[in-house]
C-alpha cells in the first residue's frame, strides 16, 4: 500500500485521543455538572465528545463481520444505532465512577491509514493498558476498536454476536440489543 501523505493541519492520533480524554475528564470534574439534576446534561456532553471520536458504523461492521453484508442498509443503520447505545449506556456508568485515575499516553504508531495509540489507565498504583485503534478516512481519525489488557472490544462483541446468531436470526439479535438498551437506560 502506498503511504498516504499527511496534511500539516491534521491532528496526530495521540493528540486526537488525548484531547477527547481531557475534555471528558474536565466535564466529570466540573462542579457545574455535579449532582443528580445535571446528570442528563453531563451525559449528553460526554456522548457528544465520544461521537466525535468513535466510528460506530465501522465498529458495527467489524463486530457483525460476515453477517454485515447480508443485511440491508436499514437493518445496518438500526444495528449501528442499537450497538452505539449499548456501548454508551454500559461505559458511561464506568466513566462516571471516575475518581482521579490518571491516563498516561505512551506512544502512537501509524501505518498507512491506521494508527494505534497506546495508553495506561493508572488506578490504585496499577497500570491497565488501554489501546485505541484508529482509522483515517477523509483526513479525520476515528476509533474503531479499543483494547483493554489485550482484549479487543470489537472481537469480544463479535464472538458474542456470532454465538447468538448461531441460535437465533438477525431480528432476534436486534431484540436482545433493544432489551439491553432499555435496561441500560433504566439504570
Amino acid at each position: 500500500m502506498q503511504p498516504r501523505p499527511l496534511l500539516a493541519t491534521e491532528a496526530e492520533p495521540v493528540t486526537f485521543i488525548k484531547e477527547g480524554v481531557d475534555q471528558i475528564i474536565s466535564i466529570l470534574q466540573d462542579q457545574k455538572y455535579a449532582g443528580a439534576a445535571m446528570k442528563t446534561e453531563r451525559r449528553n456532553r460526554v456522548y457528544a465528545i465520544v461521537e466525535r471520536k468513535f466510528d460506530f458504523r465501522e465498529m458495527s461492521m467489524r463486530t457483525l463481520a460476515r453477517h454485515w453484508k447480508d443485511r440491508n442498509p436499514t437493518e445496518q443503520d438500526r444495528f449501528t444505532s442499537l450497538f452505539r447505545q449499548v456501548l454508551e449506556n454500559t461505559y458511561i456508568t464506568k466513566i462516571e465512577t471516575y475518581s482521579g485515575e490518571r491516563v498516561v499516553f505512551k506512544k502512537h504508531e501509524v501505518q498507512g491509514d491506521k494508527a494505534i495509540v497506546y495508553s495506561d489507565l493508572v488506578r490504585n498504583n496499577v497500570e491497565t493498558p488501554v489501546n485505541y485503534k484508529l482509522r483515517n478516512s477523509g483526513g479525520r481519525w476515528a476509533v474503531y476498536d479499543v483494547e483493554v489488557e489485550g482484549v479487543s472490544l470489537v472481537n469480544n462483541y463479535r464472538t458474542q454476536f456470532a454465538s447468538i446468531l448461531e441460535k437465533e436470526n438477525f431480528d432476534g439479535l436486534l431484540v436482545r440489543l433493544e432489551e439491553k438498551v432499555r435496561k441500560g437506560q433504566a439504570d
Binding site: 503511504p3 504508531e109 497506546y118 493498558p129 489488557e149 489485550g150 464472538t159
Partner: protein
C-alpha cells in the same frame, strides 16, 4: 541514571545466581513473526473448543454467585475497616510471594533479562521493600514485573490451549493453563502453608482474593453489564488475553504489534516498515555511535549513491518526511534506515547513476526544502 541502576541490579542478580552460565539464547525459541495479524487487526484465535460448555456454565454461575454473595460483601466489609493504602500493601505483599513463579517461567522461556528483572524485584522488595509490603523496585528503580506463568511457558513452546474450562473458584482457564496452574502451585508459598495446615493455606488464598477484590470492586459488575452473554464474553476475553500474554503483547511488549524484525539487522527497511522499526529503535537505543559509522559505511557497499536528508529524527517525523517526499515526486525511493539510537532518512539514487546525476538529485532535494541534504556514497 535510572537505566544504569536497573542494569546494575539485573547484572548483580545474574552474577549472584550464576545464571549467565545457562545462556538464555540456547533456550530462546518460539517465533511468532509468521502469524502476526496485519497492523491494527486482531489475530484470529480460531473457533473455541468448549465441549464441556454445560458444566462450564454451571461453574460460571457458581463463581458469579460466589462473587456477589461472598467475595463482594466480604471485600466491602474489609475495605470499610482497612484503608486502601494498606490494602495496596497487602496486594504488593502477595504479589511479591508470586515472584518465584514468574522468575522460573521467565527462565524456562529463555527470557534472561526478564528473569533478572524479576529476581532483582524479589530481592529489593523482600528487603528494602519490607517483606514485599511496598514496591520500591518499581517506584525507585523502575523495574516492572514481568508476568509469566507455566501456562504461558507451555504456550510459548507451542502447546495449544486445549478445551476451555471454567474452574470453580479459579474462574476461566483451559486445559493447558489448568496444568500450568497445578505446576505453578509447587512454587506458591500458600501450597506449603497448606501442607502443614490446610486451613491456613485456604485462609491465605482467600485473604489474597478478598484483598484483590476490594481494590477492584465494580470491574466484574461492569464487565457483566457490558455483555449480552457474559459466559461467552468471559470465555473470549480470557482467550484473547492469554493469547496476547503468551506473545508478550499486553504490557510493555507493544512493539510486537508492528511486526518489528526479531534482530536489529537488517537495518535497511522498506517504506512500509518505517513505523515498524520504531520499537526496534527504542530497544537498541544503547548502540554506540561508532557502530553507526560502520553501519553507514556499509550502506554504500553496492556503490549506490544516497542522499541523506535527515538524521536522528523520531519515527513520527520520519514517516511525515517520507510522505512529504512521496507526495512531491512519486519516483523517489525514500528509505528509512535505523541505526540503533537514531534514524536516518534518505533517498536512494538509482543504481548505475553517475556522480553528476547523483549531484543533480542532491540539488533537487535541497531545492525541495531539505537544505541539509547531502550526497553520500
Amino acid at each position: 541514571m535510572m537505566k544504569t541502576k536497573k542494569m546494575l541490579l539485573c547484572l548483580l542478580c545474574w552474577l549472584t545466581l550464576g545464571v549467565h552460565a545457562v545462556g538464555g539464547t540456547a533456550l530462546a525459541g518460539g517465533s511468532w513473526a509468521d502469524d502476526e495479524p496485519p497492523f491494527g487487526e486482531e489475530n484470529n484465535l480460531g473457533a473455541v473448543s468448549d465441549p464441556l460448555e454445560p458444566l462450564n456454565r454451571v461453574f460460571y454461575h457458581f463463581n458469579d454467585r460466589l462473587y456477589f454473595w461472598a467475595l463482594k460483601p466480604l471485600a466491602q466489609g474489609y475495605s470499610y475497616f482497612i484503608a486502601d493504602d494498606i490494602r495496596m500493601c497487602v496486594r504488593d505483599f502477595f504479589r511479591n510471594l508470586g515472584a518465584p513463579v514468574r522468575m522460573v517461567n521467565n527462565l524456562l522461556q529463555g527470557k534472561v533479562e526478564a528473569f533478572g528483572v524479576e529476581t532483582a524485584r524479589f530481592l529489593v522488595n523482600s528487603t528494602i521493600g519490607m517483606v514485599g509490603l511496598t514496591d520500591p523496585a518499581k517506584s525507585e528503580f523502575g523495574l516492572l514485573p514481568v508476568e509469566e506463568d507455566l501456562g504461558q511457558t507451555l504456550g510459548f513452546y507451542g502447546v495449544g490451549e486445549g478445551i476451555y474450562l471454567c474452574l470453580p473458584f479459579f474462574g476461566p482457564s483451559n486445559l493447558r493453563d489448568a496444568v500450568g496452574l497445578a505446576g505453578d502451585a509447587f512454587l506458591a508459598p500458600s501450597t506449603y502453608v497448606g501442607m502443614s495446615d490446610s486451613g491456613a493455606g485456604i485462609a491465605m488464598e482467600s485473604g489474597e482474593k478478598v484483598n484483590a477484590v476490594s481494590l477492584s470492586i465494580g470491574d466484574y459488575e461492569d464487565f457483566k453489564e457490558s455483555a449480552l452473554d457474559p459466559y461467552v464474553a468471559m470465555r473470549d476475553a480470557y482467550r484473547q488475553n492469554r493469547s496476547k500474554k503468551i506473545r508478550d503483547m499486553v504490557a510493555g511488549g507493544e512493539e510486537l504489534y508492528t511486526k518489528a524484525p526479531a534482530e536489529p539487522l537488517p537495518w535497511w527497511q522498506d517504506e512500509e516498515d518505517a513505523v515498524a522499526g520504531a520499537g526496534q529503535a527504542a530497544r537498541t537505543a544503547a548502540t554506540a555511535p561508532a557502530q553507526e559509522q560502520r553501519a553507514v559505511a556499509s550502506v554504500f557497499d553496492n556503490n549506490q549513491f544516497f542522499v541523506e536528508i535527515a538524521a536522528a529524527v523520531s519515527a513520527d517525523q520520519a514517516v511525515r518526511t517520507q510522505h512529504q517526499l512521496i507526495s512531491m515526486r512519486r519516483d523517489f525511493q525514500v528509505r528509512v534506515y535505523n541505526l540503533g539510537s537514531s534514524r536516518y532518512y534518505g533517498i536512494l539514487v538509482p543504481a548505475g547513476a553517475t556522480l553528476a546525476e547523483a549531484k543533480r538529485e542532491e540539488q533537487q532535494i535541497r531545492a525541495a526544502g531539505f537544505a541539509e541534504a547531502r550526497l553520500m556514497q
